[in-house]
């Protein structure tokens, strides 16, 4: 939180530096003495994990760029032959990077759902939440550019489908969309020019993300962390210093996270991948099913569930833009779902709804469920799930806050934590 200052330079040099560039003071106030609510749980460790993942992706990405060739004729071989077979440990660095993308998204989804559950987007943390949504959108773009680089069939056709979304604008102003896609491609189709610019942007974006992460942490450290109770910390008894309490806690869960991550890297490196991407890009043959990576499947399902092109694009974009408005859609004064019995249930239905959308997106366009002899086309399942997605944010969130009877909030964080430890002692 702003305003606390305990930093006293210990040596003549640090005293000298502190009056010229107070960088050690900044580090001390934000990473060591920073007062953190004493009741943060496991779900709060993903912020640290995400920072770590950004570092890993940048490190492995810079190394991969040393061996990769962004050229339509050479890109596929530079990945599958040079990096995977010839460069020392190239296979390892590539798999850390490619599985890393999935783990990065896994972590960001946990982080986002945690924020949603504990109401971390509510005043005074709206800007913090919006910056987080921007980071997520930047991540989606970065992942999309990166997925194109190996120049396999799924890279090529994924790039074609996603950039063609802009051609829907032809329905608003004739030729506008087509001009935009030609401009994006630098050609009349996805090709060499497209691959080059995607590589350039894929290298740029992580640094942009790092910048917004800096703002995100800044916006976090002004009001301070929210916590599972969703009540404001009131005094020193509610806080512990960030170091060693949360540095160690974050490090412990980071190790557990790394175990899962490395299990994928070493034992199932292609688990999240698509076999079609091991076929070199061919502009004349579309794979039978074009699917995005798992982390974008829910949005893909929404796109496909709308039979009109422009409307489909608007729905998909709207699902992302909706996230920006959450701080003002939720009308409840109580932050944490722990004290919101109705919202808690709707939240878990929403989480299941997102997974269901992801499943629909992974299936072919004409798939159907056979329920007691009746064929239920998955496109209808996706339509209902899309309806719930939007209904949850635009109807239920504003409405439930007004009618819900919330449970009584504890007096303070300290009181709640201590009461619980007394209870555990009694039980023993």
């Amino acid at each position: 939180m702003a305003g606390h200052t305990k930093y006293v330079p210990g040596s003549a040099f640090t005293r000298w530096l502190d009056t010229r560039l107070p960088i050690l003071r900044l580090a001390n106030e934000n990473l060591v003495t920073y007062p953190t609510p004493r009741n943060l749980n496991f779900w709060y460790t993903f912020g640290g994990i995400l920072t770590f993942m950004l570092g890993i992706q940048m490190l492995t990405g810079i190394v991969l760029a040393m061996h990769y060739v962004p050229n339509g004729d050479l890109a596929f071989a530079s990945v599958e032959q040079r990096i995977m077979r010839e460069v020392n440990y190239g296979w390892l660095i590539r798999y850390i990077h490619s599985s890393g993308a999935s783990m990065f998204f896994l972590a960001v989804y946990v982080h986002m759902f945690r924020g949603l559950y504990y109401g971390s987007y509510k005043a005074p943390r709206e800007v913090l939440w919006i910056l987080g949504v921007f980071i997520y959108l930047l991540m989606v773009m970065t992942a999309f550019f990166g997925y194109v680089l190996p120049w396999g069939q799924m890279s090529f056709w994924g790039a074609t489908v996603i950039t063609s979304l802009f051609s829907a604008l032809d329905q608003v102003i004739p030729h506008l969309g087509t001009s935009i896609t030609t401009w994006l491609w630098g050609d009349f189709a996805v090709g060499d020019a497209t691959l080059n610019r995607f590589f350039s942007l894929h290298y740029l974006m992580p640094f942009v993300i790092a910048g917004v992460v800096g703002l995100h942490i800044w916006a976090l450290h002004v009001p301070g962390n929210n916590n599972p109770l969703g009540i404001d910390a009131k005094g020193p008894q509610d806080f512990v210093p960030f170091h060693p309490y949360y540095t160690v806690k974050d490090a412990f869960y980071l190790v557990l996270f790394l175990i899962v991550y490395m299990a994928f890297v070493f034992y199932a490196p292609n688990f999240f991948g698509n076999p079609d991407n091991y076929i070199q890009a061919n502009p004349l043959v579309t794979p039978p099913d074009i699917v995005p990576e798992w982390y974008l499947l829910p949005f893909y399902a929404m796109l496909r569930s709308v039979p009109q092109k422009l409307l489909g694009v608007i729905v998909m974009g709207g699902a992302l833009v909706t996230l920006l408005f959450i701080p003002w859609l939720d009308s409840s004064k109580v932050r944490s779902c722990r004290f919101r019995p109705l919202m808690k249930q709707l939240f878990w239905i929403f989480a299941a709804d997102c997974i269901l959308l992801g499943y629909c997106g992974s299936q072919s366009a004409d798939a159907a469920w056979n329920i007691v002899g009746i064929d239920l086309p998955l496109v209808w399942v996706a339509r209902l799930a899309t309806l719930y997605y939007f209904g949850f944010f635009w109807v239920l969130m504003p409405w439930v806050g007004r009618i819900e009877v919330t449970a009584p909030l504890p007096e303070s964080i300290a009181q709640s934590v201590l009461a619980r430890s007394v209870k555990t002692e009694d039980a023993e």
Binding site: L165, G186, D187, F188
Partner: protein
């Protein structure tokens, strides 16, 4: 003169506004090269037309060429396929515009307006939904319900004139600019 119009405007004010305006115009002009460099380069534009020989294509067969990085469909239609396409009423079409680069932009999407010679259907093989390549329907392996093409990505169904009949695609498959340079030779682009 300036003092006559606005007594308190000085030479300094004039220079201030003029400099600001020049900087704004210059700034916008400097951005343009950075935007335009993204458009197709002259090398890409130079490769924009091809010539193909159709003599080896059998009736009922489709051959795919590559044109401007896209698949180009050339289908030699059977009399039955032509008759099917011509029997369709304009009112049954999703997109009633011919989308033929060789004729007027708002021409109706009758089968006659989709071809130069009825036997030869020349199309850009890019689904107008999100750019996948539709699969051709043949008697051996029928695709979709209209005998033309089916796009497997999102289920757009085209008829034997390449017109969209069902699914999310908003437009008929585009007919590229082309001309016959011989009885069985065409130049595209």
């Amino acid at each position: 003169m300036a003092n006559a119009i606005k007594p308190d405007a000085t030479r300094r004010d004039f220079l201030f506004v003029a400099t600001g305006a020049a900087a704004a115009v210059g700034g916008v002009a400097a951005v343009w090269p950075f935007i335009d460099q993204m458009n197709p380069s002259s090398a890409v534009l130079a490769m924009a037309s091809i010539e193909v020989d159709l003599s080896a294509i059998q009736a009922g067969q489709q051959v795919i060429f590559k044109w401007r990085g896209h698949p180009l469909f050339v289908r030699r239609r059977t009399p039955k396929e032509i008759a099917e396409a011509r029997a369709v009423s304009l009112n049954d079409l999703v997109d009633r515009v011919a989308r033929n680069a060789n004729i007027a932009e708002n021409a109706p999407a009758s089968d006659e307006n989709r071809v130069i010679k009825p036997e030869w259907l020349v199309l850009v093989g890019v689904c107008t939904h999100l750019g996948c390549t539709p699969t051709v329907s043949t008697p051996q392996s029928p695709q979709g319900s209209y005998g033309g093409w089916l796009c497997h990505c999102h289920g757009s169904d085209y008829d034997t004139a390449g017109r969209i009949r069902k699914g999310p695609a908003p437009q008929n498959l585009a007919v590229p600019p082309y001309a016959f340079t011989g009885p069985t030779k065409i130049k595209i682009g």
